[in-house]
Symmetry: C2
Subunit: 417 residues, 2 copies
Amino acid sequence: MKIYRGNIVYSLSIKELVELSRGYIAVNDGKVVGTYQNLPEEYKDLEIIDYGECLIIPSFTDLHVHAPQYPNRGIAMDLLLSDWLNEYTFKLEAKYKDQEFARKVYAAFVDDLIKHGTMHASIFATIHNEATDILVDCLEEKGIPSFVGKVNMDKDSPSFLVETTEESLKDTERFLKKHQGNKYAKPILTPRFAPTCSFELLKKLGELADKYDVGTQTHIVESLWEKEEAKKCFEGCRCDMQIYKDAGLLKHKPFIAAHFIYPSEEDIALLKECDGYAVTCPDATTNVIAGIMQTGKLMDLGMNLAIGSDISAGSYMGIYRQVASAVRLSKIKNLYENDNRVITAKEAFYVATKGPGSLFGKVGSFEEGYDFDALIIDGLQDDFRNISPAELMERFCYSGDVSNIKKRFLRGKEIGC
Amino acid sequence: MKIYRGNIVYSLSIKELVELSRGYIAVNDGKVVGTYQNLPEEYKDLEIIDYGECLIIPSFTDLHVHAPQYPNRGIAMDLLLSDWLNEYTFKLEAKYKDQEFARKVYAAFVDDLIKHGTMHASIFATIHNEATDILVDCLEEKGIPSFVGKVNMDKDSPSFLVETTEESLKDTERFLKKHQGNKYAKPILTPRFAPTCSFELLKKLGELADKYDVGTQTHIVESLWEKEEAKKCFEGCRCDMQIYKDAGLLKHKPFIAAHFIYPSEEDIALLKECDGYAVTCPDATTNVIAGIMQTGKLMDLGMNLAIGSDISAGSYMGIYRQVASAVRLSKIKNLYENDNRVITAKEAFYVATKGPGSLFGKVGSFEEGYDFDALIIDGLQDDFRNISPAELMERFCYSGDVSNIKKRFLRGKEIGC
């Protein structure tokens, strides 16, 4: 049993945030036993690891990130989407046929993820078999609870980054078989997005979903172009989500819908029906000028939301900074389109921690029985005013840096990076 | 004479960026003698201070920041403007009648400014005499070239944060007299904004501008509310800039127009005529949902632009992060209003360095004769791809942190913080 002390903040629900000023967390065998404003009598003789005025928060979940795009982070960000894809992204992804390259990048990517306090993630790899195995191994080795997908793309893709339908299915089944028993890094189906997948491919992926009981991650109505293109590509298609439903891909959890910027009422109904997650990637969708998710509206409809760094359309690994950006973008969307409501920092924090954490077990909160996946945040306090733990959390998201993360815990153990 | 080596990036103009991969900078007596791809023969025997693959860039200029709001950075960011002003900002500013409080905050503020690589700034203080002197002293002591303003507000302000017209003028003249001979931190007139200043006050400030040859900083068309309110407050007023022209405040340089989000054609013409600066504060104007400046359009009209952190409507001290945000916001504005063009990272970098640097002497570039005000940036290189110095600069702005700033030089001397 270990007792940690500091300014503790965690979510109970999207509306309820717990904050304990100089409170205590009891941790046993990597799991939270309880949090207390006053230390219970029975723990009085235990050693207290006291982090003073530091903030103690759950580590973050990144529900949409492209690991292979890591070498392009923060580059070519002033391009528009098509140039960015064709000149930078696709060319880089093609390089992952080289396993040495993959090994080097993926090891650095996983370290940087941990460095920025992200300890649960849903990750796109590339179409490549061996490279994707390497990414899974890196995550498994570090013990990061995650979903990883070998990407499927069998049409309308560059000649150097495309598979036949047959290859794509064979490689995907191999990938599912190989990793289905993994402890931490689990496989997920990852059709890139509707325009680069034939319906035959999607339908057969649906059969694999049944056979191996795996979920799906993809990009859903991420841009106006994609939304229209999907309708053109699939005969009789009314909306993006319907394609995945028709392919049988909504039956197994999780269904992770990255971006979800331009959903129809039917898209929303279908995502809700399958208990799926809409993932907002604030910096990414403004960097490549796709648009802004109606976060407030979707929350009010009771949808599951999450946040993604979306490297390298997104440019910063830390999800905390995206918490701030999500609040900002909800304001901008409200200003220009009046079809959203402004979300709060408290709501955005839940969406970055406990909300999507539930996909990875009991993670993302400090309630009893939750994994002690935690960050110790320092350097943001001052004595100019009384600052509450919740305000300190907000300041970390808005004004903080990776250098403010002093320690990281994964299942109760300190983890380096 | 000192020779520094690394990946060098600096602006010549808004369209021209110099990048030298593993190039050299010769510095003598704190000033740049020249930059070279190959070291000239005559310097061959000098010691070379080699920063390897580090990036070497000019330090940044923050042309709009409220030093007294520093204790509120990153707090209450999900509020809307009026609540944020009334519940947080005005109450905090009122505390600067306490000189001890001012001393503590302003020392920390100046250190944090330097820590984030900002070495030239135009700064709002509060209405308070002594506290504003303390801020000037802190900047003068560190040698930060800056403009500092004692704020004027004689109407429509909270009862605990307002002056009479007479007091305001008397204190302002005292402030100008006391600091007019300063070496680094120079006084500037700082009427808060049109709605909190009587025309009598502004006109008499215009007389002080003539008497002491000082410029003015204020908020111009910063929100739709402010734009309309200004017209209501001043009889016969067509636009914000006209008020300042009528008051005689456009005759002395610089004229610094923070935000400038909703200018009329006349506002634009008047700002151009007086060679003034339009300061975009990307995070701030989205945090408090004011709107987005037409950066691209104003650039194309040949206007002077600059960037402000606008702490604490803005939440992050580092101007580099605002470079990224300015590019992003130009894209969002283009998406929603189609009344702007997308700006490039290169343009935004100029606007954060050489552009407004010219207000403080020869700073913000590494051309011959410029002060060697420089930042050494590390930790963003990798060997996954060839990355050019300009790309490294972009990555610092988008993906970097204060922890990437390894060293800071001010007029050739390393400066701690």
